[in-house]
Structure formats: structure tokens, C-alpha cells
């Protein structure tokens, strides 16, 4: 039987006028970005230089969706459990035969389903890049899959924070801060300590020439690879090599060295590592949330 929490919450969500506005707003934002980049193609003649705008549009759309998901997911999930507490309906769910994990996953999947719907609705806009060339359907598909993994991670963080708090507003704020914290913490190895180790390898031509793919993967900190932003950059670079020109021979110290190391380790490897890592962390967070909602209920009231 389909998770009752999922179907029930989805029914209520889809009846809300706000959901329709979110979908329209999301697609409109993407369309605006796409049209502003692809505007040369709307003219009668197209300059040769405009041909690179397809991959550029793909990059911009993926980055925009990446940011929009981070902005929308916490707002969408903040009421998942905290809202039930506010409405005083959580106890009514906990006394049924539905286990806490099923309740939490039902809530998470419902929010995820809406984000997936947004990503799906944005697909025709992203598909415009196909018309200009330079991007394949497979690349778009991989990009969408990465966004889905990111959406799942953001939803899990949101549901986890929601299960911790009693108010929807507090839960929303906590989710944004947690996502920010995840972004900062996963960048810590890049900001501190790690650079020296990597520059030693990169700046020594012999060492660098001998560096294998496995060796480079070992040198890249796993925490850094879990950074969703780094994951997205890796995906885009792995698929399109679009950032090659930007990065070439700029001598940006640790950024450039990391770039070379990631290049040696394999961009697609990093993107997959990041996506799988996000999913695993998400599952752990949902498990923790399931434990928390029963604990929260035990402390709820006495009289």
C-alpha cells in the first residue's frame, strides 16, 4: 500500500493555490534566464559566436535550479513535522499503526515529489539548449538527476530540522542555517590545511606526472567532495568542460591546484560521489528524524 502520509499530504498540497504559484514562478524564472541568454537565436540571423550560448544556458539553468531548490526546499519542509505539532495532529499519527520512519519518509517524499515536479516542469526550458547545439540529451538528464539528489538532501535536512522544532518558522530558519553550515563545513578542508598537501604535489612536476587517478582521489578530501556546490561544478565540468577556458593557467593558487587534482581524479567520479553521499546522509537524517518525533511527543505535555 502506498505510504498514506505521502498520498494524503500530496493531495492537500496540490489543492493549495500556493503550489500552483510556486510551479509558475519556478518555470517563469527559468524561462527568463533561458531567453536572456538565448536571445541572439530569436533574431533572423545568428552570429557564429552565439553558438557557445547553448552550453552557457545549460550551465546557468542548472546553477539557477540548484540555488532555487536550496531556497524552496526548507520553506516547503519546515512544516512537515513542526506543522503537525502546531496543528496538534502529530499524536494522532503516532497512535496509529504507522511507524515513525514511515511518517517521516512520507513527509519527506511528499516534499521531494513537489521538488521533482518543479525540476520536471523546468525540463522543457532546459531542453531549449538542445536546439542551439553543444549539449546532449544525456547531459541534461545527468544534470536533472544531480538536481534530484540535491533536492532529496535539502528535503531531508528540512524534515530533520522540522522534527526538532515546535514551530514552523523556527524550523525553516534552522533548515536554512543548517544548509549554510553544511556548505561551509564541507569547504573547511579546502580553506584550511589541505591546500599545502595538494600544492606540494601539483607544483612538483615529477610528483604530478606520476599521480594516478586513484592517487588523486585519495588526496581530494572526502568532505570537500560532499559539498553540493563542488558536486555541481564537477558535474558541469565533467559533462561539458565548459569551465576549461575560465580556469586555464590563471595560477589561482589553491583553487587552481584543486582544479587540477579534481581533473586528475575525474569530474564525473566527484559528481557521483557527491550525489551518492548526499543520498546516504539524507537517509541517515530521516532515520534520526524518525527517532526524534517520538521523543518529542514523549516530552509533549503532562497533566
Amino acid at each position: 500500500m502506498l505510504n498514506p502520509i505521502l498520498s494524503f499530504s500530496a493531495t492537500r498540497r496540490m489543492r493549495s493555490f500556493r503550489t500552483m504559484l510556486i510551479v509558475i514562478g519556478y518555470v517563469a524564472a527559468l524561462l527568463l534566464i533561458a531567453l536572456s541568454i538565448l536571445s541572439p537565436f530569436l533574431k533572423d540571423t545568428v552570429a557564429l559566436g552565439s553558438l557557445s550560448r547553448g552550453p552557457m544556458c545549460f550551465l546557468a539553468l542548472l546553477a539557477a535550479q540548484f540555488v532555487l531548490i536550496i531556497l524552496i526546499a526548507p520553506a516547503m519542509t519546515s512544516g512537515a513535522v513542526a506543522g503537525e505539532r502546531e496543528r496538534q495532529t502529530l499524536d494522532l499519527l503516532l497512535v496509529t499503526n504507522t511507524r515513525s520512519f514511515r511518517i517521516v519518509t512520507g513527509k519527506a517524499m511528499e516534499s521531494f515529489a513537489l521538488l521533482a515536479l518543479l525540476i520536471l516542469c523546468g525540463l522543457p526550458v532546459t531542453g531549449l539548449c538542445l536546439l542551439t547545439g553543444g549539449i546532449s540529451a544525456g547531459q541534461i538528464l545527468l544534470g536533472e538527476l544531480f538536481l534530484l539528489a540535491e533536492a532529496f538532501a535539502c528535503v531531508s535536512v528540512g524534515v530533520f530540522c522540522s522534527s526538532l522544532s515546535r514551530s514552523t518558522v523556527f524550523s525553516g530558519v534552522m533548515s536554512y542555517l543548517t544548509l549554510l553550515l553544511i556548505g561551509v563545513v564541507t569547504l573547511l578542508p579546502f580553506l584550511f590545511g589541505y591546500a599545502r598537501k595538494i600544492t606540494d604535489v601539483v607544483y612538483d612536476p615529477k610528483n604530478y606526472a606520476a599521480l594516478t587517478e586513484t592517487g588523486a582521489r585519495g588526496l581530494l578530501p572526502k568532505l570537500l567532495c560532499l559539498n553540493p556546490g563542488f558536486g555541481l561544478v564537477s558535474l558541469l565540468q565533467g559533462q561539458t568542460h565548459i569551465l576549461n577556458e575560465t580556469m586555464k593557467y590563471r595560477g589561482w593558487g589553491r583553487i587552481y591546484c584543486t582544479w587540477l587534482m579534481a581533473d586528475r581524479a575525474g569530474w564525473n567520479y566527484i559528481a557521483v560521489f557527491c550525489a551518492v553521499g548526499m543520498i546516504l546522509v539524507s537517509l541517515a537524517l530521516l532515520g534520526a528524524a524518525a527517532l526524534l518525533i517520538r521523543k518529542g511527543s514523549k516530552k509533549a505535555k503532562h497533566g
Binding site: 500500500m1 498514506p4 502520509i5 498520498s7 494524503f8 493531495t11 492537500r12 489543492r15 493549495s16 503537525e84 496543528r87 496538534q88 495532529t89 502529530l90 499524536d91 494522532l92 499519527l93 503516532l94 497512535v95 496509529t96 499503526n97 504507522t98 511507524r99 511527543s297 514523549k298 509533549a300 505535555k301 503532562h302 497533566g303
Partner: protein, 312 residues
């Protein structure tokens, strides 16, 4: 049906329940009474498996609620003292959702939803949105929700709170029907007379301790046995006659308290049963006290509640 065995619950240093033991037979309406903070809600939440006890346990049809929570949930229907409802949802969908949470199949869900809406007199509202219902109707819908999986024991925490007299009467009617259907109902309230009117038995709690548990008649018999004796003397008989009456009552060894509430009205408490009343009257008549009214005041249940919880 329900056996509560030395149940305790501590919130830090605060002891909400102190070794509560109660047994409730099958098919009875059992009232749970006590002032605020007595431990009623705590007991009910433990029975509904929403919180674990600090020690002790309870058995519902032999199922240990602390060890077999999932099994116990199938046997218990719980209605808290608030009615949590969702907006954007029709009445039948609300019930259908909870039925799905109890993993009830599609056909049974449809049948149960219809029957329960009929029972709580909301059949004509099945396609209306929950937020459009009145408070009393929402309360009845919540009662239907707690019955959706056909539980053996129904736990209702203050089900009639905030209802107008008409809605209360309707709720009482539904509870009586449930008893006729063979359900055991545990119902809490601050209002003892209201519970006494419809319950077969009562448990009175105060500060987490059991004060009384038994049949309603047993409680009123017990309390009426301690009811004070009212002795009215003839108007204008003078203070000397009143003092004389007090003096002569004090001579009786079983009299414990004499109160003069009005100039010619004495209230006398004594240890012992009704068989001592003739002795009191005989003594007063022998001493030429001008008695014009002599009777025991029957205690109403409000007074019983105040007495019982005061002594604890």
C-alpha cells in the same frame, strides 16, 4: 479489559503518577476524574503508547503496552483533549486517511467511514471541508477518527470540553451507543456529576495518587455516609438554647465537629453510620432542645469531588 499495574511517571523531580493501579472490566464506561495536574492526561497518554511510564505497566486484553506498543495501538482508540484537524480536507477524506494509517483495506475503509459518519451524525457532512464544521461537529469527527480501526478500548481525554449543552448531550448519546456496542470507554473530565451521570464506574486521582476507584453508587454511598447532620432549632429560641444544644452534642463521644452556619442551624459531623442518628435526636429531645428540623444533607457529586480531592 484494562489493567493498570503500579504505573508511575516522573518528569524530572515531579512525580506525575505515583504507583497507580486500576482495573476496568470489559464493556464499561469508566470515568477518570481529578483536578488539573492530577495525572489524568499522563495516564491516558501512557495508555495510548505516546509516552513510556517510568515504572509499572498496563495490560489491554493481556497485551503489555510497554513491550508490545504496536499490538496495543490496534486495541486502543485515542482522542486527546484537543481536536487536531487538517484544512483542505473533506470529512470522509479525513477518516479515510487515518484508516489508511491503520492499514485498513479499501473496501473496509469505505464501509467504516460511512458507518462512523452515521454514528456521529455527520453523514450529511461527509463531502464538506473539515474547517467548515462547528466545534461540536469537529469533536464528533475526532471521535469517529478514534473509532476507525474498531478498537476495543476507547480513551477519551475531556471529550466534552468547550462544547455547548446541546453538543454535550449529543456526545453523551454517542458514548451510550458505544457502550451498547460493547466498547470499553475510559473518559476523563473535571466535571464529576457529568461523568457520574453516564459512567458505570469512576477513578478519582489527585496529585498522581489514586483516591477512589469503583462503582458510582459505591462512591456516593461512601460519601453520603459521611454527610453532615443538619439540625435546625426553632426560630427565636435564643442563644442559650443554641449553646445548650451545642453543649449536649459535645457530650456524644462520636461527634467530631459542630458548625453553626446560621443562628439556628447546626451542622454536625460524626464518626459512624446512619444508625447513630436516632441517638443524636434522642439526646437533643431529652435535653429539651427545641429541634424543628433534623436531617442528613445528601451530598451532590460536586461536593463529593471536592471532599475527596481535599482529603488526599
Amino acid at each position: 479489559m484494562l489493567k493498570i499495574d503500579r504505573l508511575t511517571k516522573d518528569y524530572g523531580k515531579f512525580h506525575a503518577l505515583k504507583g497507580l493501579s486500576v482495573e476496568i472490566p470489559e464493556g464499561t464506561l469508566h470515568g477518570f476524574v481529578g483536578p488539573n495536574g492530577a495525572g489524568k492526561t499522563t495516564t491516558m497518554r501512557i495508555l495510548a503508547t505516546l509516552m513510556p511510564p517510568t515504572s509499572g505497566t498496563a495490560y489491554i486484553e493481556g497485551v503489555d503496552i510497554t513491550r508490545e506498543g504496536q499490538k496495543a495501538r490496534k486495541l486502543v482508540g485515542y482522542m486527546p483533549d484537543f481536536f487536531g484537524v487538517y484544512d483542505n480536507l473533506k470529512c470522509w477524506e479525513y477518516l479515510d486517511f487515518y484508516a489508511r494509517c491503520y492499514r485498513i483495506g479499501a473496501e473496509d475503509r469505505k464501509r467504516m467511514t460511512g458507518q462512523l459518519l452515521e454514528l456521529v451524525q455527520l453523514r450529511d457532512k461527509e463531502n464538506e471541508y473539515v474547517e467548515a464544521l462547528s466545534r461540536g461537529m469537529k469533536q464528533r469527527l475526532c471521535l469517529a477518527r478514534s473509532l476507525i480501526h474498531d478498537p476495543k478500548l476507547l480513551i477519551l481525554d475531556e471529550p466534552a470540553s468547550g462544547m455547548d449543552p446541546r453538543a454535550r448531550a449529543e456526545m453523551k448519546g454517542i458514548l451510550r451507543t458505544l457502550r451498547e456496542m460493547g466498547k470499553s470507554v475510559l473518559i476523563s473530565s473535571h466535571i464529576l456529576p457529568e461523568l457520574a451521570e453516564m459512567c458505570d464506574s469512576l477513578t478519582i486521582l489527585d496529585h498522581g495518587e489514586l483516591v477512589f476507584s469503583g462503582a458510582v453508587e459505591e462512591l456516593s454511598d461512601r460519601m453520603n455516609g459521611n454527610a453532615p447532620l443538619e439540625i435546625r432549632l426553632a426560630e427565636g429560641c435564643g442563644t442559650e438554647a443554641v449553646d445548650g444544644a451545642v453543649r449536649c452534642l459535645r457530650e456524644l463521644p462520636f461527634v467530631t465537629e459542630i458548625l453553626q452556619e446560621e443562628p439556628y442551624l447546626l451542622k454536625v459531623r460524626f464518626e459512624g453510620g446512619a444508625e447513630l442518628c436516632p441517638d443524636v435526636l434522642r439526646k437533643l429531645v431529652t435535653e429539651n432542645v427545641p429541634v424543628c428540623d433534623f436531617h442528613r444533607t445528601p451530598m451532590n457529586l460536586e461536593k463529593v469531588f471536592m471532599e475527596v480531592t481535599q482529603d488526599a
